[in-house]
């Protein structure tokens, strides 16, 4: 077993067994509608499901939006289901628990139902409430999943303080008092949080790599050899950036923080380095803005002020390397492997996204050369 969080170690073993499964066939829309109705028949008799529609976007889960009518009061929900494999390897139970833990503390979609063992739906599934808002200005029809999204003025100055306040709330959250049975706190020694993290992603890379890229091997070895101590174990969102929150386009208010599936307990520097990663930012008139919100120095200073957490530059550098490595693993290992096995409903998107792989190899080589020169 991999030296990582127990639930994630089990997940890594389970996915090996799925590797030999036949091609994944997207769920039939009408069958999903019938399954939703029978789900609610058993839990909320009298409620009727209608307007079931497949959603686009995303690169990991199969999603359907639907209306649930209770005594003439309609409400909209999303059903999220796991295909055989995808660009991430995550647990619906953890996502469900963390959404419920933050409900009332942060704007998050309300998680209402979970079928973790696929007892009713054909694969593990979760139902969440729909939140109004957009992930990018409606004038931007071109960017994919937040890559290259430009909020522009005046929106970025309205969104930025909220974005940083919410991140501060996540990092200062009292996870020890929350109901998170699927999470295990890495408290054995100060390196355990990041050691567990590295071993999880390394095992994914070993299982899924479609090419033995030398720079990736060097990065893996460097990350293993230089694990920093974690002074404060925080909730780490794992994918915190522009593209992963909804906002009201009229006033710029963030209405929901999304995509919690890669969440874990660990070092908060991972989220900071992720949000200011080049691929998620904008370059306009010679100015780079992380998540199109602010240049990194301003972003970090405002985060420190909002959270009271000190940013350690050496740790930020470590997680900058980690994030380029993780990004490569997501797009060029997991995504490509899922597409090659025909184990996802979005193979054509996964092979498109895999083209970002060289960007991360280049970034890793550049960062490791900086290390070599010191």
């Amino acid at each position: 077993m991999t030296d990582t969080e127990p639930l994630l170690a089990s997940l890594l073993e389970e996915r090996k067994a799925r590797r030999g499964l036949p091609p994944y066939l997207p769920q039939d829309d009408r069958a999903v509608a019938a399954l939703l109705q029978s789900w609610y028949d058993a839990r909320e008799p009298g409620a009727t499901v209608h307007d079931v529609a497949r959603m686009g976007g995303g690169a990991s889960r199969e999603q359907f939006i639907f209306t649930l009518d209770r005594d003439g009061a309609p409400a909209r929900y999303i059903l999220r289901m796991d295909p055989t494999e995808g660009i991430t390897e995550t647990s619906r139970a953890r996502e469900y628990e963390i959404l419920r833990a933050f409900d009332g503390t942060l704007p998050v979609p309300k998680a209402v139902w979970l079928d973790i063992d696929a007892d009713h739906f054909p694969c593990p599934a979760m139902i969440v409430e729909v939140v109004a808002g957009v992930t990018k200005p409606t004038s931007d029809q071109l960017s994919v999943t937040g890559l290259g999204t430009v909020l522009g003025d005046p929106l970025r100055d309205i969104v930025r303080p909220q974005f940083l306040d919410h991140l501060a709330t996540i990092h200062n959250f009292d996870w020890a008092s929350a109901d998170l049975p699927s999470f295990t706190a890495p408290t054995d020694d100060p390196k355990q949080p990041t050691r567990w993290l590295i071993q999880f992603w390394k095992e994914l890379l070993e299982q899924d790599a479609v090419t033995k890229e030398p720079v990736l091997r060097l990065a893996t070895q460097w990350l293993e050899d230089n694990v920093p101590d974690c002074e404060k174990i925080s909730v780490v969102h794992g994918d915190y950036r522009t593209g992963n929150y909804l906002f009201d386009e009229r006033d710029g208010r963030i209405t929901a923080i999304l995509d919690w599936e890669m969440c874990y307990l660990g070092d908060l520097h991972a989220d900071l380095a992720w949000a200011i990663q080049p691929v998620f930012g904008s370059h306009i008139d010679g100015v780079f803005r992380g998540s199109d919100l602010a240049p990194p120095a301003q972003f970090l200073a405002e985060y420190e002020a909002a959270s009271g957490n000190r940013v350690d530059r050496a740790k930020l550098h470590y997680f900058t390397i980690f994030n380029a490595w993780k990004s490569y693993i997501l797009v060029a290992a997991l995504g490509m492997r899922a597409a090659r096995q025909a184990h996802n409903h979005q193979d054509v998107l996964l092979t498109f996204l895999a083209a970002t792989g060289p960007l991360f190899v280049d970034e890793l080589a550049r960062l490791l050369m900086m290390e070599e020169s010191q």
């Binding site: 529609a53 497949r54 959603m55 686009g56 976007g57 071109l142 994919v144 890559l147 290259g148 090419t211 033995k212 890229e213 030398p214 720079v215 091997r217 060097l218 070895q221 691929v279 904008s282 370059h283 409903h345 979005q346 054509v348 998107l349 092979t351 498109f352 996204l353 083209a355 970002t356 792989g357 060289p358 960007l359 190899v361 280049d362 080589a365 550049r366 490791l368 050369m369 070599e372």
Partner: protein
């Protein structure tokens, strides 16, 4: 006259664009998205078709250059000797397609890095890394240029 590859791909694109896409309801978000992505893939593949053999041969040549550079690195001891010998063997093997030969060499480089790291040949491993990183970066730069038409790379796609 036999239909050329371009004729065939253009006809597929036209079918997707002018027949399949308009037939999909506005609500069919995922299907519409996938048709658009499929068309994008085809257009890029079409634009790169003539250059593809040269690109794959360039990949092979670059990884072979890296392998030669690594074999020239001094200081490797017993723990990594077998991996060096295997790298030499794979480098000399002229069988297979360019991309298969490139991957065979990559696997041998990977084994060498693992052996040097596990065998605690720290200085030797550091010299291997110093040889790999600039060459790896130069190769990644070419790959970024190759995939620039996908539109994700703000620097290269501009």
């Amino acid at each position: 006259m036999n239909p050329s590859v371009d004729d065939r791909l253009n006809s597929v694109l036209r079918a997707l664009q002018s027949v399949v896409l308009p037939a999909l309801p506005e609500s069919a978000n995922l299907a519409r998205e996938q048709i658009m992505l499929a068309m994008g893939h085809i257009q890029i593949i079409q634009a790169q078709r003539d250059a593809t053999p040269g690109y794959e041969e360039g990949e092979r040549a670059d990884i072979a250059d890296m392998a030669r550079a690594l074999l020239a690195v001094a200081g490797g001891g017993e723990p990594s000797a077998a991996a060096r010998a295997e790298l030499e063997t794979r480098l000399a093997d002229k069988n297979g397609l360019a991309r298969e030969r490139a991957e065979a060499v990559r696997e041998a480089i990977d084994a060498l890095l693992l052996a040097a790291h596990a065998g605690d040949e720290r200085d030797y491993h550091r010299r291997l890394a110093a040889a790999i990183l600039p060459l790896g970066r130069a190769r990644a730069d070419k790959d970024r240029g190759w995939f620039a038409p996908m539109g994700f790379d703000s620097e290269k796609s501009a």
